[in-house]
Symmetry: C2
């Protein structure tokens, strides 16, 4: 069903269909969690060796613009992308020990954000809320160096 959204987006923009792009979209939408362009390329290439990194980047851009993907940076240089579930906004807990990412939703926080914005006569389009720290597993293992990349 999400795919029809993209089809519509492609049509409305006068774009064409292509097997590489289809493959990237299909693979992306089947992913759980957060995927970087590089990681997605690896998955895509398992099915089709001919796809290049550039196409993955271009397709992710298209997906983001059409609202099917959400781009996130967390505390790193690389962008990661997550399939957008309509109407399901959420924020993240990021473990600096093992890199695990957990999701949460909290309406009360959102309400307070709106209140803050109102005080500043500011109109929120979107927000970023990321809680960094240590998950249960990592706190048990004791002090551990943050996972690189």
């Amino acid at each position: 069903m999400e795919r029809s959204l993209l089809k519509h987006f492609i049509k409305s923009r006068g774009l064409r269909q292509s097997s590489q792009r289809d493959r990237v979209v299909e693979t992306f939408l089947s992913q759980k969690g957060h995927t970087s362009a590089e990681e997605l390329l690896i998955q895509v290439r398992k099915k089709d060796k001919r796809v290049g990194l550039t196409t993955v980047y271009r397709t992710l851009k298209l997906l983001t613009e059409s609202g099917l993907a959400v781009e996130r940076k967390f505390n790193r240089q690389v962008s990661t992308f997550e399939p957008a579930r309509i109407g399901q906004h959420h924020d993240h807990l990021i473990c600096l020990g093992c890199g695990k990412i957990m999701e949460f939703e909290n309406k009360n926080i959102e309400t307070l954000q709106e209140e803050v914005a109102r005080k500043h006569t500011f109109f929120i389009t979107h927000h970023v809320l990321e809680l960094y720290g240590t998950c249960l597993d990592c706190s048990k293992k004791g002090a551990k160096k943050p996972k690189k990349k």
Copy 2:
């Protein structure tokens, strides 16, 4: 007073003093708002032409490690740095129209964050909360393209 913290940090690490670093630190601490390495270099060079970008980067790293600076990325590629005011954590409203950055503090939000963490048995070390949208001025001017960079 903040400067004595850095002096202590430098001593404890067995580092040396240098006029370039002093100039960068001095300039940085006198800045309001958020400064990128490039912007800081421009300011520093007004007083001393001999300072290089590398030294600015290295000094900002030192300041961040010693707790005198806080690094922030917002929605851009570049890092910006802000002098850390001890015990004064705050979050940001970022206008996508003009790039203006406003600060706010909200204890209730922080309390709710701790509650979320507790539910997930997660231990927060720090968080990022950024509200993106349109400020009053920009909403008056009507639809305006987001300022690049």
